[in-house]
């Protein structure tokens, strides 16, 4: 059986994290989301994998290249929609296939169940269905699908994961999969609905923390690098090669720390934290429930909670980050989410900066002593 993974879209709502990579390549628990999808397929013995790339395709391809299993890469030159992306892969598809989004986590048991059935969709209940394709069910079959309705008739949504036959291509008229599914239902084709066990999508950047928490649950324990005898570790802790942990550091798992990091002495790494490679954390800093990507450095006496930082940020000492909620306009949509801080690539901030409930764009420079509260700072901006 073949599988098509769609990884061409940018994922605009998780900006600013998608400047240098599409959403599928955002590292969660130190591995790109798409890697979990591929892993779930491999566990089901599906090895003929096609990945459709588009936005920042070189970054995705570079990653796919270094996987042990060779995957077929198909390029979508313009990101017109999911059905269009699938169509790009049409000539590679020989028969029945699975279709999966590359930027959602899915457990391998669910794939095991759907792969046996021709024409099926994985569905799952979601507390905010309006962000997805809402499905209407009858006797375990899909009777209708409504894309992102304002007032949702049910909490049951499509995960975007389908088991399809080649005939599906004949229903593709517009650029979205949902349209094709609707026209498939219109012509009285049956589409079975299968419940997914565990499916995670990050709609907004702060949702990545929830996904991170979930994926850290399956973290294998492993310790490389140099740790001090006075380092206290609790729970599952995974530390990479060449990383140094200074004395009196407390690491309370689940926590993953990548390669060549320098942490401590006297830091606190609290549960549900992922730290990438070459990250530097100076003494007396506390990090918890956060996702810190590669090459970032965080100054001493900082408090980093509920935070997603992209690559190469440089935060000076006494930085404080915390959560709160306020009205925000994200890609034209006004919402009132409660979250902490999201930083783009290469954000540089001075000492004694306070961040609270904000999204900071790429290449933003913030002068020391600033307070960034409930704001969205665009890329390349400066706060003086």
């Amino acid at each position: 059986m073949q599988a098509v993974i769609l990884a061409a879209g940018e994922g605009k709502r998780v900006r600013p994290l998608t400047r240098s990579r599409p959403k599928a390549m955002i590292p969660v628990a130190n591995r790109p989301i798409i890697e979990y999808v591929i892993e779930a397929l491999l566990k089901n013995g599906i090895r003929d994998i096609i990945v459709v790339v588009g936005y920042r395709k070189e970054q995705v391809t570079r990653f796919l290249n270094q996987l042990e299993l060779p995957v077929e890469v198909v390029i979508q030159n313009k990101q017109l929609g999911t059905a269009h992306a699938l169509k790009c892969a049409e000539s590679h598809i020989k028969g029945d296939f699975l279709l999966l989004p590359g930027d959602n986590y899915i457990d391998h048991h669910s794939i095991g169940r759907i792969k046996e059935i021709k024409n099926a969709m994985l569905v799952k209940e979601h507390p905010s269905p309006s962000n997805f394709g809402v499905v209407l069910l009858k006797d375990g079959f899909v009777t209708g699908i409504i894309e992102k309705p304002e007032h949702s008739p049910s909490f049951m949504v499509s995960t975007g994961i389908y088991s399809l036959t080649r005939d599906f291509f004949s229903y593709i008229r517009e650029n979205d999969i949902t349209d094709a599914v609707s026209s498939m239902l219109d012509s009285d084709e049956k589409l079975q609905a299968i419940m997914a066990d565990d499916w995670q999508d990050a709609i907004y950047p702060w949702d990545l923390l929830k996904m991170n928490k979930r994926l850290l649950k399956d973290l294998p324990e492993a310790r490389e690098g140099t740790t001090s005898r006075q380092t206290i570790t609790q729970g599952t802790v995974n530390i990479g090669k060449g990383t140094t942990i200074g004395p009196n550091t407390l690491i309370s798992g689940p926590v993953i720390i990548g390669n060549d990091c320098e942490i401590g002495p006297s830091c606190c790494i609290m549960p549900n934290t992922s730290i990438g490679s070459r990250v530097k954390i100076e003494p007396f800093t506390l990090i918890g429930n956060s996702l810190v990507m590669d090459d970032t450095s965080i100054g001493s006496h900082s408090r980093i909670i509920d935070t997603v930082t992209s690559e190469g940020c440089r935060l000076a000492d006494h930085t404080t980050m915390s959560a709160s909620s306020s009205l925000m306009n994200i890609e034209g949509e006004v919402i009132k989410p409660e979250f902490g801080v999201v930083l783009g690539d290469r954000v540089i901030s001075g000492p004694f900066t306070i961040f609270k409930n904000c999204i900071v764009g790429n290449n933003v420079t913030i002068e020391g002593g600033s307070r960034v509260i409930s704001r969205i700072l665009p890329d390349e901006s400066m706060v003086i």
Binding site: P220, E221, A222, R223, E224, G225, T226, T227, K241
Partner: protein
Amino acid sequence: MECVVLAAGEGKRMRPLTAKRPKVMLPLANRPMIEHLVLAARDAAINDFVFVVGYGEREIRKHFEDGSQWGVHIRYAPQRHQHGTADAVRSVRDLVTGPFLLLNGDMIIKSTDIADLRKCHPPCMSTSTTNHPGDYGVVVVENGLVTSLEEKSKYPKSNMINAGAYHFDPDIFDAVDSVQTSSRGELELTDALFEYIAEKKMKAHQLSYWMDVGNPWDMLDANLTLMGNLQSDLKGTVEEGVSIHGTIIVGEGSLVKSGTCIEGPCIIGKNCRIGPHAYIRGATSVGDDCHIGHCTELKNSIIMAGTNIPHFNYIGDSIIGTGCNFGAGTKIANLRHDHSNVRVCGKDTRRKKFGAVIGDGVQFGINCSINVGTLIGSNAQFAPNSYVAGCLGENAIIR
């Protein structure tokens, strides 16, 4: 007759013990696993071997060279990429001339069984029984013929499994050529056998004894089994006042100092220094050039060459790599307080008692405490008084 031995894999599940050697070179009763196999085959009058080698090829070549030391002739067929067993068989095409035996290098099998398999007309597959058939290829045998073969089945049809020892004709080479990549991404030999099975040609040969070593802790059982066949032999010097019970082998140049108590079965390699006052308990093998010193207790363990356990140590139900050094007072725990099965890196060992798996060149300071089920990668280093638990990678340092 020629005998092809598959010895190319690293044996990832045996990590970290396979850092410097392939799985088949891991010592059981102080000989590499594959040497036991060669000896068994030799006793079945097989003298011509082709080893399919890959990972750790050098270690195997260095040990066996052309095999003349064992009175056999060994050739090597390197398999650079491990694409699976069918691919390994392909790599010996043109290198074997007639019907041949094909043996997995990581199993323990008796020479009488090899002799019987040899007599069985090819193609012939050896079978064995196990209580966890789901981990292997499950076979169904009717009237001496294999009628079904299913890999790693969730619902095994029987407890009879494919033991990984075959007698083939050269026409197997055409069969393996047509093998396609399986869902596990490998070229699997068993896929080449279905045609034989369908044509009712594949004979089955039930082995009287068979054991494979899948995980490090399986080595302890295999070690015990292989030591069962030994006769006492004291080549080294045993001082007065050493108390010895059961089957004991002490290699040349080794010195067992007084006050030491050894309970067999136990093998001590060459040029070791044991005691004074060491206590070595049953089913322990100690490699060459080791030092087991004063007030050290060993029990049911495999200690590889060049490791020093010199003062006040306790090591039970553990596997220790080469060139390790234990500081005074460093001990390994081997029993959980809740008496449940010991788990190593999340895997159930199915053993109530298990200590640690320790790679090569690991150094412990004095008074380190190693918890049950710890796995330590090669060349890790631990400062005095460290508490060591869980899964530690290569070169990990606690300081």
